[in-house]
Each structure stands twice: as structure tokens, then as C-alpha cells.
Amino acid sequence: MPSLLFEIGCEELPASACREAEAQLPALAERQLGVAPTRVFVGPRRLAILVDELPDRTADEWVRGPPVALRERAAEGFARRYEVSVDRLEERDSFLGVTIPGQPVEEVLPERLAEIVRGLAFGKSMVWGPDFRFSRPARWLCAKLDDDDVPVLLIGVRTVGFSYGHRFTFGPVEVPSAAGYLGALRAADVEPDQHERRRLIVEGLDALGEWRDPLGKLDEVVHLVESPVVLESAFDERFLRLPERVIVTAMQSHQRYFPLGGTRFAVVANGGDPELVREGNTRVLAGRLDDAAFTFDRDVAVGIDGLAERLGSITFLAGAGSFADKADRLVELVRRLGGDEHALTAARLAKADQAAELVREFADLEGHIGANYAQLAGYPDDVCRAIDEQYLPDAADAPLPSSGAARVLAAADKIDTLATVFGLGKRPTGSRDPYGLRRAAIGLCRLAVEGGLRIERSLLPDEARGFVEERLEGLLDVPVEFVRAARASAAPDLGGVARLAQTLHGAEQTPEFGAVYTAYERAHRLAGRAEQEAAAALDPALFEDQAERELADALARTVVEPNGDLSAAAALAPHVDRFFDKVLVMAPD
């Protein structure tokens, strides 16, 4: 059976488009060709599939027609449509039908390959002339069935029968056959296989020693180059005074470099003269860092306290005052959460970096930049750490703040944002959560559950509290009814609600659970009616039965904390039950 190569030549595709194509091509190709491709190659300038053994003919296809019962009326029309005589119709499962024989594969490929191109769907796509959309313009097609060219029936993109090598060092490249594709491109400075490109890049980085990829750029860099070359460079030591994450962001987000520790960094180039390319990249990073340093020095000259004083003129949210107002609210919340002096100081300074010019350039580094400025102003480490970690946990798998003061400040920030945004009537909808309230609510729950921080439920207004407590369902992985039950309890703090929900869930199968439930139900049903009739205080003189005395004694001994511990309630249960069994509750006395 023959081998097939199909290459779609493109103008430089984004990495995200490469990944989309990589995910879609196997199924698309299988649908059109009947077999899954042996290899799928994706990269900036080409998407390609290789099929090692393509069946010579496409599979026979059974087309179902009218039911046998309607033979008289419908058979002729059906047969005519498929250009066969009526007596050629076959019967299967009481339907008439026709078998369309498979065709030689070379006859169907021109259309089927075009369907593969048209079938690719990108998150962001464009028009440029042809009647289909693509991530970036497709400019050539190359299809080979063994060593024969296959013309592809796609209007607007030429089938050229050859490929192109590296954009600048090689022009058109002859592809002798499907099997010779990889070799031909590799000889033309192109590595079409994304796995091999990744291996080459990692190998090059490993050769330079320890390397880091804190912002996860490797996946993108693999699709930024066809001919990866890893180069080492370094920036001037004078930039080491900048906050480390500012340097990392300039390297990774802006330039897609990899930090090697100290002042060293790695560049993954797409060819070129290593000396020239290294020199150019070194100058570019120096420019970026110089720009950041210029801004940094201006901020530091103002100082963290000076920046904090400017917060009055910066709006936090329309209708919710300035960042100065927010800082005041944070201080109060930290106080109510039991924060210490360090936490209170951190709360006062937490938003100061919103007035920093550097945060305008590096918005993702809010908090971190403020912490750096606080450090330079001589504030204690504990204060700086709290400022640094105030936005944690900011993702499902993100760590919690690492100190008590930091956890208190992180909770205060989330409570304030939730309360403020809900107060403005901006509840998140299914798809829109522009203020990140879901993330804040989950973070708050994690601070209570995993961080052990006592967060009074009364700190949150009703609607925001409901929204936060609903997050416990997903976080605890406990069925919703237990979370609802726990939320209805008198537990005063968020962690207590969580523990109660977990205890109820854990206790569901134990005997105590049944006992407590029954006892509670009986008392609860009665309480509803008795509220208005019952005597205000317990009068032991009126006890008629031993069971009454026992229950009163047991109650006196018991302190039921709504903290998720069922054992106290379980101990009470038999007394309650006996009480109901023995005593006529609605006795006039």
C-alpha cells in the first residue's frame, strides 16, 4: 500500500494554532482517508500528515434507501438517483439499499485532502481571499502519494508539488516522495517534527546547565522556530537591583528567553549567525531592563509610603471609592480577622504599588513590586511577605500565603473585593466574571479550610457569603446536600461550615448519623409548633417522667459546638429519643 504525505504550507502560525491543528488532524484525516495518520507534524510554517500505508481503494459504502415494504413506490426513484437498475438493489435489515464500491484512492484524494484543510477550525481565524478561514494565510500545498504528485482541489491555494525549506536560508525544496519528506526538509534547515524540536531545545538548554521556565514559554517557543539554535547570553549586573520577577517577566513574557540563574539567560533562535544574534538579543534585553530600571528608580525615589499617599486619586472601582478607601477597609478587616501589627502595616501598604509606574508596565507583578519597595524602605520581612502574597492563592493549584500575616491580608483583600463588587450589584454570570470573584471566593475558602484561618461568616454580606459558601461544594468534593446542611447550621465561621459538611458526609453511613438525624427531626418538628406555647424557662418541678429529668441532665452536661463534631450530639440522641417515647409532650403542664 502506498504512503501519503500532505503538507499545508502557511505564513507563520501562532503556537496556539499549531496545537489546535495537532489535536484535530488525526481525526480529520481518519474521517477523510479511512485510516489515521502515522505522523502529524505541526510548526510555524507547515502542518503535515504522513500516512505509511494508505489503502489503495476507499472502503465500500452502504447507502440505505427506502424500507422493503415501500419497494413498489420508492425503489425506482432511489435506484435512479444512484444510477443503478432496480434489480441491483440489495436488501438489508428490511431496507433496500445500494453498495457504492470504493474508489481508487488517487481519484478521491484531491477532494478529500481539501476537506482536511477546510475542516481545521481555529479559535481565531482570518479571511484573506479564498472562501475558507484559517489561522493565517495558507500559501502552498504539497501532496505526494509515494512519489506521485496529487493535485488538491482547494481554490485559492496552489498545489506546488514541492515544499519550502527555512525561510531565509533555503528556497523551494524538492520532495522526492512521501517517505522522503522528513529527510528533504531536514536537509533544508527545517525540523518539521515538533517533538524533535522540543528535544533539541531542551538538549541545548540542558547543555547550559540549570535553566528555568517559570512562566511556561517552552510550549510556545517550540512553535516559534523551525531550526532551533540555543544561545547563551547575560545581562549587566546593574539590573540585579530590579525585583527578580520584573527581570523574569521581561525575559520570558516579552522576549521568550529562559533564565539560567544570576545574570545569564538562554535565547532560542531560528538560525542566523550566533554571534550577531546573541549580540542583538543582549542589546534588546538591556533596553527592556533599562526601561524598567528607569521606572523603578522613579518609584523608589517616591518610596512605598509616598506611593500609598497617592492612592486617593486612583479609582478602585467606579462607585466603590479610591484605592485609599480600599486600604482603609483592608486595615479594618485585618483587625477583625485578628491580624497582628505586621498584618496591619501590610494592609496599609498593600495597594501602594497601584500608584507605582512599574506596575503599569508589569501589571501581573502587583503585590510583588510593592513588597520590593517595602523591603527597600526597611519594613520587616513579615510585612513585605504579606504584601507580596496578598493575591494568593490566585489559581486552583496555587500555594497559600506562607505566613499568618500574609494569610490574614490575603483573606481581607478577597473579602473586600467580594463584598464591594456584590455591593455594586455586579454578580458574576455563567460566562462573565470580570472581577475574578470565583477565584477570590475559592481562595477565601482555601484560606479557611487549608490555611486554618478563622473567617467569621458575618464578615461577608449575605449575597457574597452565599456565593463563597457555594464554592465549598467543589472544593471539598462533598455532595451538595451536606454543604447546604452545614451552611444552614449556626457555625460562625467558614472553616466550621466546611468541617461540618465534611463530618456530615463522613458520618452518613455510621449508626450515630441515623440516631442524631432521628432525634433532631423529632425535636425540630416539635420546636416549630412549640415555639409559642412552651414555657420560657425549664421548671424541674414540673417533670413527671424520669426521661424528662435524664434529658435535662444530659443537656446540662452537653455543649454542642457547631464545629462538625457529631459525638456530643450523638451522646444526646438516646435521651431525646427516650423523652419522646415516654413523655406526652403536649401535656397541658
Binding site: E11, E12, P14, A15, S16, P44, K124, M126, V127, W128, G129, S135, R136, P137, R139, R167, F168, T169, L224, V225, Q255, R256, V267, A269, N270, G271, G272, D273, L276, V277, E279, G280, N281, R283, V284, L285, A286, G287, D290, D291, F294, T295, S313, T315, A318
Partner: protein, 281 residues
């Protein structure tokens, strides 16, 4: 460098246009790009455009930020199949050896909410330096383009820094015996002072209203080209107000919306007249 680009693109068949006569934040806003990219007629143009961005001023103190710098703008509509190669050849014409340097196209999707415009394209990197923004327009003034243009915007200072291996724009040799700093540094200082401290907020607020009103009148008279000038003046006035800190975050969105509405109405009228003319022809 500029004359090399002019010669290259003139040779390619572009109309060599001149900078527009009112302030624009980017060469895209020059009607030679914004309006001519719409409608059914092919178009090729190249020009230098001073880019005026009041909030980017740094009093001439920061060698990387300016409220006034230069772009070289090329529009080819519709973009031919080999347009990227044509562009790369222009770098070659500037003396950049494409085989010795690492020239790459890095995804960059362009969006300009004030103009209701977007497109897909790249930043062109040369050894890590962004020297060009490259965009296939998809929509302008809220209208889908009929013929997809390629917009090529060279950052002239960046390109010169690359070619001259300079770390600061101020040190660029702008002409023999004159640096960029000699010519423009004082400009940066004075204009930053004006943009941030002196520009009269009350007058600007009135001016914005006035330009908006006049734009409406011109649209009624079915004169999209003069009306478009009023859109540009609104946009620049808004930028100045922004630099003066006179616009709150909430008001910002409203102002941008007003400019976008005007841009859309101008674009619609322009396309209507162009299409009618094309139909007659």
C-alpha cells in the same frame, strides 16, 4: 533609511504619500490607510507618519518612551500571495542580511477599539528587537474589509537602533552631525509638560464636543473625508484629556464609544459612496 524605504516601495508601485496634517496616534489612522483599506478598490501606499501619543511622553528623560516618534507605513490592498517576501526584501534593501540575523514573525493580534478595528498578524523580530508590526486587516470602523489589505508598520527609531547598534534613540545619528536627541529631545520635554501639565482641560472638553458635533454635520452633508478629520481631532483631544488625568476609568469607555460611533458612521458613508462609484464605473 527613510529614502531607501521610499525608493523600495515606490518601485513596488506604491503611491508615496505624506504625513497627515492632523495628529494621529498611529499611521493606521491616516485616511490613506483607514479609509482606503475599505471599499472595493485596490490601493497601494507608503508614507512616513509621526505618531503622537501624549501619554507615552517622559519629558525626554527615558530613552525608550516618547510622545512623538516615527512610523513608516505601507498598505497593499489586496495583499498578494508573496507579500511577506516583498516585505522581507525591503529589509534586505535596508542592508539587513536575513541569513545572518534571526528574523521571525511572532503572533500579534491587533485591535483598535477607538476605530472599531481589528486584524491578525505579527510582530516582526530581528534578533529579538521588534522592528515591524504586520497586520492583515479584517475589520475597520466595524465594517468587514472587502479586499484584505496587508498593513506593514516599521518602527523607524527601533529599526535605526538596530541598524546603528545604538542602545538609546537619543544617540541615533539622524543626519551627519545630528543625533535624534539633538533634533527631538527638547521637543519631548516641552510637549510632555504641555500634555501632562498645561493643556487646558476645559477648552479640550469643549473642543471634543465641538469636533463631535461638526462630524455629525459633515456626515449629514455626506462628506466622509472632512468628517473623518473631525474623528481624528476627537481622538487626539481624548488622548490629551487622558494624559491630563481628566477622564475617569468609567468615563474612558464612554469617550472611546463616542469616537468609535463616529468612526463607524464615517466608514459606512465612505464605503457607500465608494461602492456606488465602483458600480457606475
Amino acid at each position: 533609511m527613510i529614502s531607501a524605504l521610499q525608493a523600495y516601495w515606490a518601485d513596488y508601485g506604491c503611491v508615496i504619500a505624506q504625513p497627515y496634517h492632523t495628529e494621529v496616534a498611529a499611521g493606521t489612522m491616516n485616511p490613506a490607510t483607514f479609509l482606503r483599506s475599505l471599499g472595493p478598490k485596490p490601493w497601494k501606499v507608503a508614507y512616513v507618519e509621526p505618531s503622537i501619543r501624549p501619554t507615552d511622553g517622559r519629558y525626554g528623560e527615558n530613552p525608550y518612551r516618547f510622545q512623538h516618534y516615527f512610523q513608516y507605513q505601507v498598505v497593499v490592498k489586496p495583499a498578494p500571495e508573496d507579500i511577506l517576501d516583498v516585505y522581507f526584501n525591503s529589509l534586505d534593501a535596508l542592508g539587513i542580511d536575513l541569513t545572518a540575523h534571526d528574523v521571525r514573525l511572532v503572533e500579534d493580534d491587533w485591535e483598535q477599539p477607538t476605530l472599531g478595528a481589528w486584524g491578525l498578524g505579527w510582530e516582526v523580530w530581528c534578533d529579538g528587537m521588534e522592528i515591524t508590526q504586520w497586520t492583515y486587516f479584517q475589520q475597520l470602523g466595524g465594517i468587514e474589509v472587502e479586499l484584505v489589505p496587508a498593513e506593514i508598520t516599521y518602527g523607524l527609531e527601533r529599526l535605526a537602533m538596530f541598524l546603528q547598534r545604538k542602545d538609546s534613540a537619543f544617540d541615533l545619528e539622524w543626519a551627519p552631525g545630528y543625533t535624534w536627541g539633538d533634533v527631538y529631545r527638547e521637543n519631548e520635554r516641552q510637549w510632555s509638560t504641555y500634555n501632562y501639565e498645561v493643556a487646558p482641560v476645559d477648552v479640550l472638553l469643549q473642543r471634543f464636543e465641538g469636533h463631535e458635533h461638526e462630524c455629525g454635520l459633515l456626515l449629514e452633508r455626506r462628506l466622509p473625508l472632512p468628517a473623518y478629520d473631525q474623528v481624528l481631532k476627537c481622538s487626539h483631544t481624548f488622548n490629551l484629556l487622558d494624559a491630563r488625568g481628566a477622564i475617569s476609568v468609567t468615563e474612558r469607555a464612554a469617550y472611546i464609544g463616542r469616537v468609535r460611533t463616529l468612526a463607524r458612521r464615517v466608514a459606512e458613508l465612505y464605503v457607500e459612496l465608494e461602492s456606488a462609484e465602483a458600480a457606475v464605473a
